[in-house]
């Protein structure tokens, strides 16, 4: 038995769709999603993956894409506590954001004290290196932030 994370399954669904025009449902993509895990054993062998079914609701594509991006390390959510002075947000955009980084979500979290309290920010990056550079820029600029991709409770609550 092998276990495959749902994010990897999502990436596989998208890959099958775009590269092979195969519409696989999540369970249907499981067998192919597991291949990388057992790559060492497969060299020179004959292997059959059963695609069990293709009942995938198009309405789920947004969720599937989101899970895939998170799994590939291309989408990140975090909380930033901006310094309470004018221009703090502008500095963030000018100095922290890289040329290929894209803000896909921005929301002040508190109902009151809007625009001074913490903000939820989601960014999409082109590759994982860009994200590491992004984080190191936040560190060197002494930005007060919390990454929440790995924090299950915070993630479910805020995102």
């Amino acid at each position: 038995m092998l276990l495959v994370p749902e994010g990897k399954v999502s990436s596989t669904i998208l890959q099958l769709y775009t590269e092979d025009a195969i519409v696989a449902e999540p369970a249907g993509a499981l067998s192919i999603a597991a291949l990388e895990q057992m790559a060492d054993q497969l060299k020179g062998k004959t292997v059959v993956c059963v695609i069990s079914g293709g009942n995938n609701d198009i309405d789920r594509m947004q969720e599937i894409k989101e899970r895939s991006l998170l799994h590939e390390g291309l989408k990140h959510y975090f909380i930033v506590r901006f310094a309470q002075r004018p221009g703090a947000l502008k500095e963030f955009v000018n100095h922290i954001l890289g040329p290929d980084d894209d803000i896909v979500r921005f929301e002040f979290i508190q109902k009151h004290n809007k625009e001074t309290g913490p903000a939820l920010i989601g960014i999409e990056v082109k590759n994982e290196t860009d994200f590491h550079l992004f984080v190191s820029r936040m560190n060197s600029e002494k930005i007060n932030y919390t990454l929440i991709n790995q924090n299950e409770n915070l993630f479910e609550y805020l995102v």
Partner: protein, 235 residues
């Protein structure tokens, strides 16, 4: 849980029964993944199956095996997805009445598919917040109306039907080292494993589960079926 021994399963007989209704899906060589992994990789395309999943195999194989009297009384099942479509299709094909219980939160698309496959032969009842609750009502309905309950995986005839996937694979490609299958309830895996154990003993079967719903992995660890505290419904 059903206790079965290999020699009780007649997958070849099931294949004969299914010939009329099931598509012999292609076993396709996948060049790109083969090159990437340095192996010969084939895909068994059950996504192209009637009702777009292998579930038709087990459902039809079980329902057609019912006695004339059982057929007259009709069948009941509980499912939010592919099994329901398989049962609905079989009911119409065999002119049997079926009552299909689906959880109240089932997406409209799935309900419509079941209606489309079952037509006049199928009544859909939406009930229960969870699958277990829905299944409880379905079992009760079956008992009260003396109808046959069609389980999604835990039945000899279901496993036999799903096992025909392996028979088709082996007919197309007799020399196989690994077959990788998804595991939910375990019906497909049980059928495929049984067949290959007899007719291609060198083939290793790898079952795959989503990380968020590892029921078979945990059951094998415990040596018996277990109840998971929390599952992801993604797959």
């Amino acid at each position: 849980m059903v206790n079965i021994t290999l020699n009780q399963l007649d997958i070849s007989a099931a294949a004969e029964v299914l010939q009329k209704v099931v598509i012999k899906t292609p076993l396709q060589y996948h060049r790109k993944l083969s090159e990437k992994l340095g192996c010969d990789l084939y895909l068994k395309r059950e996504d192209l199956q009637t009702v777009r999943s292998y579930k038709i195999r087990g459902a039809y194989n079980l329902i057609q095996s019912l006695s004339a009297n059982q057929r007259k009384n009709g069948v009941v099942c509980a499912s939010a997805g592919n099994h329901a479509q398989g049962v609905a299709f079989s009911c119409r094909e065999l002119s049997i009445q079926g009552v299909i219980y689906m959880p109240a939160i089932t997406p409209k698309q799935k309900i419509n598919q079941v209606r489309m496959f079952g037509g006049e032969n199928v009544e859909i009842i939406l009930i229960g917040d969870t699958f277990d609750e829905c299944q409880y009502h379905a079992l009760l309905h079956a008992k009260n109306h003396k109808m046959e309950f069609i389980p999604p995986f835990d039945h000899l005839k279901i496993i036999e039907g799903q096992g025909t996937v392996a028979k088709e694979i082996l007919a197309d490609q007799p020399d196989i080292d690994f077959v990788i299958v998804p595991v939910g309830g375990g019906g497909l895996c049980a059928g495929v494993s049984s067949y290959l154990k007899t007719f291609s003993p060198k083939t290793k079967i790898i079952g795959v589960e989503p990380l968020g719903a590892p029921s078979m992995t945990e059951a094998l660890k415990a040596g018996q079926p277990v109840v998971l505290d929390k599952i992801s419904k993604f797959c």
